[in-house]
Subunit: 328 residues, 2 copies
């Protein structure tokens, strides 16, 4: 019997889950839930109902795993515990500093309901976390480096858009190639914020806005830009739409660590992602972990989990025999 | 209480485990077992007994995990099932084609004894297998590429040494940079054996041996060299010892996969290792998995496992809270 998936929220993430579920032979999409008027939401898959989020509870026995596609700022802190009291759930909660608190809330709800919740699934947190955890366990004497990009940072783009005189903006986070090369070469550099990433901004001005003032406000903005080398380009709205609508992203996780009687041997573990579509890759990860959530729940592993708690084989639709014969 | 580790076999791997166990705060080395005369084996750690392998059974209650440091060709196929009937065990069995059979033998022994065995631990199989398994589960529509090197292949070096007139030899497997770049660029190339790796040989001749004949025998050797571009250098025994005694190795695992309604987005997952010491990195992995074997056995998870069955958090000496707060 196929694993029946529900999608809560139908934006870029919801659409990505839909594509990934339809590509998986062992899953079927049961329903898409929305806070908008269901009639106004057109999905890709024929014959799958779009349902009001208010009616989700009525689907408790028709959905094996609900994949939550809301945002970390306001949606998931309340949604994930609420739905974990009805469903096995997956979320992509990515506010690193608040993960411990989110974990506790979800764990309580999921243990009470006998459900399995896997939180903070995606690539960072997610695949990058796995890379850090494995590498730290194997090379306890070492240093971690994470680089993000090239890709759009939504938070930095929003910060620019809040400046007076700015009509629209996209900000790319770009890792500094020389820093990556130094890490890859085993030099174990101490890197400042400025030495790790540069920030490139594409800005559409309101009519009559002062470009020099806007550029200065961007460059000197504390936390967001003042610690970085920042480039600002002024372009038209048409150019922004044409050249900067892509959702590519990626990044690099390194651990450089020593072994030997006197730490005489250095080892570099590198994990990197180059993604044409950030949301579609993220949802491919969410969908694989939905398979694991169902399996862990069937085994009685209730409560909140993260990617660090899930055996890798549980993400696969292949049997242990097949995995050992072909992938080990 | 610390996890008590036994080491079976004291060569490069045994010594590497010793170093890794001594670096781990939650482990202690209980004893080293050898088939040689125990008095003839000098280990690095003071006050740890070196014991005859024949007496291992007497240590059943003084060792939590026995790490087996024998070879895959002749030692492990018999050793791992035998010791799994007495101990939780870890091995680095790396004959990919025989893993299913080895798994069955070890699983039977470990289930009968109520022990936990984790086989084929290291980097390939091991960390590379993990990378393949995760990436295949996330990107089911894609292609895998594995490159090895630069590093010495023991099997190819042995094959050269068996040629008449050869006194000593080392063979390096080297990935073809252009092939790696094509994969990294998302070109999804179809690569022949020759396009993926080159083979570089350093050969010491016996006095009076015919260099031209030896070189020809190497280049045309079926399976080992005939499908590759092979370079042969003749050097002295002193040069071989001085310049080719290192144990560096490494490699790259890629998955290039598509998502989207029409497969319009490509994603590249890359995992790579650059290792100063192949045996010390391998044994760092073995030691981390010893921690997992103890924990799984404490939980009643008996039988044979592979890296694909072990939750990542089980490799760490840190608590779930610490991992979520700092590595997730």
């Amino acid at each position: 019997m196929k694993t029946r998936i529900g999608i809560m929220g139908y934006g870029n993430l919801g659409r990505g889950v839909e594509i990934a579920v339809n590509a998986a032979e062992d899953m079927e999409l049961a329903a898409v839930f929305t806070r908008r008027a269901p009639d106004s939401v057109k999905i890709l898959t024929p014959d799958v109902p779009v349902v009001s989020a208010d009616e989700a509870e009525q689907w408790k026995n028709r959905i094996d795993v609900m994949i939550l596609c809301g945002g970390s700022a306001t949606d998931l802190p309340t949604q994930t515990p609420a739905y974990a009291s009805m469903f096995n759930v997956i979320d992509s909660f990515d506010t690193h500093a608040r993960i411990p608190e989110h974990f506790e809330n979800v764990d309580k709800a999921a243990k009470e309901s006998g459900k399995t919740a896997i939180i903070s699934v995606g690539w960072d947190p997610g695949m990058f976390s796995l890379s850090r955890a494995y590498a730290n366990a194997i090379l306890p004497d070492g240093k971690d480096y994470t680089f993000w990009g090239k890709g759009v940072s939504q938070g930095h783009s929003d910060a620019i858009r809040r400046i007076n005189g700015v009509k629209n903006a996209k900000q790319y986070t770009i890792p500094v190639e020389a820093a990556i090369e130094a890490v890859r070469a085993g030099k174990n550099p101490e890197l400042t914020t400025r030495q790790k990433h540069i920030r490139e901004c594409f800005v559409v001005l309101e009519d009559g806005a002062d470009a020099q003032r806007v550029e200065n406000e961007i460059r000197t903005m504390p936390n967001y830009f003042s610690d970085y080398d920042t480039t600002v380009h002024f372009i038209s709205e048409e150019e922004l739409k044409r050249d900067h609508s892509g959702m590519a992203h990626g990044g690099f996780v390194f651990r450089s660590g020593k072994t030997g009687v006197n730490g005489e041997h250095n080892h570099i573990i590198e994990y990197s992602l180059k993604l044409d579509s950030n949301p579609e890759f993220t949802t491919s990860v969410l969908t694989a972990y939905a398979r694991a959530a169902k399996r862990m729940n069937d085994e009685g592993q209730y409560g909140c989990k993260t990617v660090l708690d899930v055996p890798p084989a549980y993400l696969s639709d292949k049997s242990g025999e097949e995995l050992r014969a072909h992938l080990l």
